[in-house]
Symmetry: C3
Subunit: 260 residues, 3 copies
């Protein structure tokens, strides 16, 4: 933190929070998202049998956060689809990941060093989305703290929250679990991030928004890169959560710690 202070943290944060996301960061987001879609069992067969279903799933993976936030705020769910260039870019990534000859594109982006860079870039976009979601909700509901948290949360989590219905589109149905019952690290972090940004937006957290964006981005990028490199699904919050849940909700201790 001292080094950052010497470099004038405020200025760096300002520049960083104004940096455009299109196209480099957005492309990284699309690539990593569609990569995760390709990891899903059965998704390659679906891409052969029904390209339309596969494309729709890819769009949900890339733009699920916009769709959900638009639904929650009462706008058109496909409002974001007016940005033809974004849709075309995501469609191109989808085509390359699934249908590139010799699976060349997939092999390149799934190569660990490349993937780690892309994953870090994706987290930059995620943090921005959470901040933008909270800001957007604040604009619509000035005192709606719960609405701000919920919108920021769905903007950060995206397709994960509707994974049951995304799977249904591919003919898969797993009703016994969902992302709310078993939150993964990005979903949890999005929830905590949404709470932080809501506190900032309603002036209860005395910190500049650009600084919060910078710090939260660094935390998310570092965590996800380390977890991707170690193939870990654990969470840095596990210990604190385990104790808080034990005290507040009587959950059994250590129940949510898993690492495989």
């Amino acid at each position: 933190m001292e080094v950052l202070a010497a470099l004038n943290l405020g200025d760096i944060a300002q520049v960083f929070s104004k940096m455009g996301m299109f196209p480099v960061f957005d492309v990284a987001y699309y690539i990593v998202s569609i990569l995760y879609l390709k990891y899903e069992p059965g998704s390659v067969e679906v891409s052969r049998r029904s390209p339309v279903a596969s494309w729709l799933c890819a769009m949900l993976y890339c733009f699920g956060s916009y769709i959900l936030a638009d639904i929650l705020l009462g706008s058109s769910p496909i409002d974001y689809f007016q940005h033809n260039s974004h849709i075309l870019l995501a469609s191109a990534v989808w085509y390359l990941v699934f249908y590139c000859p010799l699976n060349l594109f997939y092999k390149c982006v799934a190569f660990l060093p490349v993937k780690l860079v892309l994953v870090a870039l994706k987290e930059v976009v995620r943090t921005r989305k959470i901040a933008a979601g909270v800001h957007h909700a604040h604009h619509a509901y000035h005192h709606g703290l719960f609405i701000m948290v919920i919108v920021g949360y769905v903007k950060g989590s995206g397709v994960a929250l509707i994974s049951n219905f995304e799977q249904l589109l591919r003919g898969v149905w797993r009703p016994d679990t969902n992302e709310i019952l078993n939150m993964s690290f990005p979903t949890k972090a999005s929830l905590y991030g949404a709470i932080l940004f809501t506190l900032q937006e309603s002036h209860w957290l005395p910190v500049a928004k650009s600084t919060l964006i910078l710090i939260f981005t660094l935390f998310m990028a570092t965590s996800k890169v380390v977890m991707t490199a170690r193939h870990s699904h654990g969470s840095p919050f596990a210990l604190i959560e385990s104790w808080v849940c034990h005290l507040l909700f009587g959950s059994p201790l250590g129940g949510s710690e898993e690492d495989h």
Copy 2:
């Protein structure tokens, strides 16, 4: 009715229909709703494993009617969440019902005499919601009789109509039945109530709205209290319905009478 007439029914109805619901009646509504959530098999385990999922289900039980009506009228589904005090109150009730030490709160409110009072208060809120829903829909669509009935119906039935998806949130999936296929008494009564209030709103039923609210509240509260006291799931409409359905829709006679 003679006693009511002597007491000047119109004035009583006026006063009754202007009475504020917050906080006493609303708290009763939240308590009874979340009590029913706790009765659902598996909901206690969910409250231990994933407090977020449990809280979301509780919110659906308390505010499902607002969420559904807002969706149907094209507003933001989480519009009602701007009322921070209502959400905090419902969250407090949720916490007390599920996590109160020694299960004390649950034992108090599930104690039959207390529960009967709460159930009666809940029906007061339900009737108001139906009337407000019909009025709101009338405001948006002056001649939309079907829209008025539908909105009043969902305002009265609430989470029951989306119970399949509420269960899915808790990892339970029972596709072979739903509240439309097997209507419970409150859902049926909400439908009939919505039809009555729609007829009143479009001046086909020559009765003051406050009087209709009073009479329908009395009917609902009495029915639900008697049914709760007798642990009955039968319906006062069963006989008439059975004959009407037989004549109009060729349903087998006596098929919908059940009492266990």
Copy 3:
């Protein structure tokens, strides 16, 4: 085409595209739609057990395209239900198809020559809906090509796209397939039609809209009449699709040709 040219194709197309759909064409649409609902296994039992669920399904079959398009454009999903006369007409058709004494109405409209005429009339309505959907979306999003295609597509396909949830209303759940994974001919044709009308609306297809409506209607009506007469589920696109999918998406050749 020469005969059409001699008759002045442009004028015919103009007159045809201005022709009112209510009530003759709309009634044909309702009859054929609810006939398909009655063909669904279990729907007759549902109509006996729960007339409300059966009516709701019938409304989804008749107005699913309006509901879906309204959802996608952020309007009230039940906006179309303000047209009381349309709803009453569709409800009357539903009553006659399901509950007419001696099943007389059903036998009349399911009689092949009658049914072929009704099927042809239904396709006239479908084409108009696609064109209206694309036009409506163009009005809301001037450059939203994807939005125009999607809205036109759902306006043409209607309930088919939400068949999983329509079935759920009747207590049936088949998650292993859906209309996107296994597109039927009308759904595919709606997609291609929506693309054509979008190209026309954005002036990339140099043809008058009335002419396109006429030609597409003739194509759809002819195809569906022939397919209904031959009890075929094949598609005139099968050969081209099979090759295009093979070249673009590596799908196995001839996989999508089926005729039973």
